[in-house]
Symmetry: C2
Subunit: 87 residues, 2 copies
Amino acid sequence: MFVIITYDVGEKRVGKVCKKLREYLDWTQNSVFEGEITIGKYTQCMADLSNIVDKDTDSIYVYEVKNPRNIKKVIHGREKNPFDLFL
Amino acid sequence: MFVIITYDVGEKRVGKVCKKLREYLDWTQNSVFEGEITIGKYTQCMADLSNIVDKDTDSIYVYEVKNPRNIKKVIHGREKNPFDLFL
């Protein structure tokens, strides 16, 4: 399936969450990742993240899209690329 | 249509972009908004945003979803609500 994942986590955990998501998905911009992922890998990804985040204060939003053909991404302004993540 | 909008803009423009998007959509978390919007309002929203952002450095990503039934939102951890925006 195709997923878009956004996170809003405490500053101390941002790096860890970002690093973990990069193992599974493509970074889009800011705190947004997206990509095709199998149910198995998605389950593993969520399990990994649950060990990092503070469930009382942090949040991870996942948009699960049944078929990527149902979604269209339009970029206004500058397209960020993976290298921006390291600037 | 249903849209998810995320933005990555210069610090000086974050407030303005956020305020503008709140006129059209529901705030989800961090720099993410979502909601049902007509083509007309969406066009207007994008025109308004283009007057705020710096096209060379800022970016607005829009995921357009044909039918909201094709997308499922799953929240892990704490669900943010609109009041968080003012904290």
